[in-house]
Symmetry: C2
């Protein structure tokens, strides 16, 4: 007898098979008993009129681990058109406790704290699994797109001697009697690696010790980082960002259609050219459309971003909008300025449905520019010595961007809280599970 996965059952109609997984549900309806088994891939229902067939499953709690044998048959009534007849059950791991929220209901109904505190078991729910399958597909799409563009994958240090982006939001580590920090981003390393491979990417954790609990911040998240050389300016980088986002969406469409349907989510269309608006023009637009004067503000507020997102949808029919040319005063020291308007930078954010999803831009590439930029930012040179070494030995014009995987999922699935997009989130209170 063949051991198969639930999703393979349709290929075995008329044959006896064996499946292994979790007892997701047992219910009785007019003399018939339905047993639902869930494995790592999907679910299948077994049907019997004789409870003796599945006796082992009737005295244990849901989520017990079982082996289920039966004959695959087609059935118009069954979910997916397939079910098992003449079932028999062998117990693998019987349990007797009840999960903190029902896993057999179509909707996972539990408050956010319950979902997070009991993620270890509640992540088994098909809705949660669908989300994390999409996360895996997004990473796969990111890598596949960049591989096809001649990029090389790298892995960089997460324990560093100085804070990348500056600011206080770094986690401190005790490092053999010294103080070190958890990397806020692979920014410096990915830039150095442009000198080695021209085009590099990294998928990995980044750490931000932001001391506030919001629905759109995590203290550890997955950053999809890209950096490449021989660009004209930030518009070259934006074109690549568009290619990458389109590649991710294509992969989600190919690998994640079942999951997207289950979650009721529709993929956005990525326009051939994503519309863009300059930071200053965006502020003018907000005044014009909403009567709120944010001109002179050095950054966009979440409300500003939502307004711009609405405008992009209305006027350009686009879920995506590039905002370019953020003021130099709010961008890190390695940012390349706009030669024509030096108070603005060659940088951009990509808004996705009114939320910043990607930050990127052109970087400085000459050693002397770095010395001047550090001086202007009142930063000492010494902590950046090994970073600057890359520029001493010749670097091309380059730029890059980073995509927050969790933000992508939050916007795609229209979730109220980013903590729901990661397996085991970290926040100010939460170090477990």
């Amino acid at each position: 007898m063949k051991t198969i996965r639930t999703i393979e059952a349709a290929g075995y109609v008329g044959e006896p098979v064996r499946l292994r997984g979790w007892l997701q549900n047992v219910r009785r309806l007019g003399g018939i008993t339905f047993l639902v088994l869930r494995d790592g891939y999907g679910t299948i229902q077994a049907v019997t009129e004789d409870d003796a067939d599945i006796a082992a499953a009737l005295t244990v709690g849901l989520e017990s681990v079982i082996e289920l044998r039966g004959v695959v048959v087609t059935s118009d009534q069954a979910p997916g058109g397939i079910e098992l007849y003449q079932p028999s059950v062998t117990m693998i791991t019987p349990i007797q406790v009840t999960p903190p929220a029902p896993l057999h209901k179509k909707q996972l109904n539990a408050a956010v704290p319950t979902l997070l505190d009991h993620a270890v078991v509640l992540n088994r729910h098909p809705q949660r699994r669908a989300l994390f399958k999409l996360a895996a597909a997004a990473m796969a799409g990111f890598r596949a797109t960049l591989n096809s563009q001649g990029f090389t994958e790298i892995q960089t240090p997460k324990m560093v001697a100085s804070a990348t982006e500056g600011g206080a939001n770094v986690f401190k580590i005790a490092y053999f009697g010294r103080e070190a920090y958890l990397a806020q981003s692979p920014q410096f390393y990915k830039q150095m690696m442009v000198g080695v491979f021209e085009r590099v990417y990294e998928v990995g954790p980044v750490f931000r010790a932001e001391p506030h609990n919001t629905t759109r911040h995590l203290n550890q998240y997955v950053s999809l980082d890209v950096e490449f050389g021989f660009i004209e300016d930030h518009f070259t980088v934006m074109a690549m960002a568009r290619t990458v986002i389109a590649g991710i969406m294509d992969t989600l469409a190919q690998q994640g259609s079942t999951e997207l349907a289950l979650l009721g989510a529709a993929l956005p269309v990525v326009p051939e050219t994503i519309p863009h608006i300059h930071f200053a023009a965006a502020q003018d637009l907000i005044l014009e459309r909403h009567g709120v004067d944010v001109r002179g503000e050095p950054d966009l507020s979440p409300q500003d971003e939502r307004w711009l997102g609405e405008w992009a949808k209305e006027v350009h029919g686009s879920d995506f909008l590039f905002v370019t040319g953020y003021p130099m005063s709010k961008r890190p020291f390695y940012t390349h300025l706009d030669e024509a308007r030096p108070q603005y930078s060659n940088s951009f954010d990509l808004l996705f449905r009114g939320l910043e999803l990607i930050t990127g831009g052109q970087r400085l590439h000459r050693y002397e520019q770095y010395l001047a930029a550090l001086d202007k930012a009142n930063l000492p040179v010494e902590p950046f010595a090994t970073y600057l070494e890359a520029f001493k030995y010749g670097m091309p014009p380059h730029g890059g961007f980073a995509i927050g995987l969790e933000r992508l999922l939050m916007q795609l699935l229209n979730l109220p809280n980013i903590k729901l997009t990661t397996l085991f989130p970290r926040d100010m209170q939460r170090l477990t599970p």
Copy 2:
């Protein structure tokens, strides 16, 4: 004029092209000047009898960033059979300093500390690039093999409330007024996720605060982690480990042949079935072959591993050897014992050319087993509460393993020091670059 990469030049014979990259070398030979450009992919040589053609490149240092135009021609004398005629050079980023070791020599001759201190620039050398390309190919091969086996990729927390493996070798973090630790492995999380997806893997950094500087330890390394359910015992896990190693070697053969040739490395043959020997039999064998009595030792020494590696090569013609059944006393509390010989475990190491490359085994899967194991190890239950929750709600027999990416590269390339296998290594003294 088309802008191409060095490795694409053979497809443009007779055509004028433009390339961009680093000035790797300029040399004169009998009235002819050769200029070598290196881009992110390879090198190409341009040839001229008139230095005026390439004047811009003659007054700057090697590693300056240039644009090079010329006509692609075939030439028996040229490396790769291709070179550029009628070259012209435009300067992009001129530099005047000399790298800490010559990058244009075939062999990168520098002492290990120089290589590590100046990795930012010395990683540009073709030998170093080849190594890191192989690292990327190994990760790709790992993922592709597991994807084809129905595994799901996960990303897990790196900041944790309690040490995974126990022991003192954990880095402490200041976490919003509390103490936390850097994850020594994703062990607990990958096990929990067997309850969600049955089969999971993760590629990511792990952190070990081992306070000794050896040639085979790093304080951060890339762990290729695998865990899956519904196994018989550790032999099911060993079979999967064999599949994964074979998949990695296949990918290296497909994607890394140029790099392997450059580094003079030969891929091992992965036997259809890798030979295995029980821990106790291995100790007997060492006594028999080498007259050294290590029986009763709870672990194998590096010398023991080398001897066993030699034996596997001699007797089985294999670069790989599984050692099974390590004593329970040296394995972590979640290890499943050997029912027949309870002092031994259902665990294994895979030795590759006499060095431990993979550690793995069967884990406990019942809640009560965990309570008993923690009690036996004199460990409190409370710090493991969320980990144990997975087992409360039903887990199948499962197991897994972890491959150290850097050890794989060290053994494959026969390098004297593991620090040479990672872009920017972390050791007791080294937090930069």
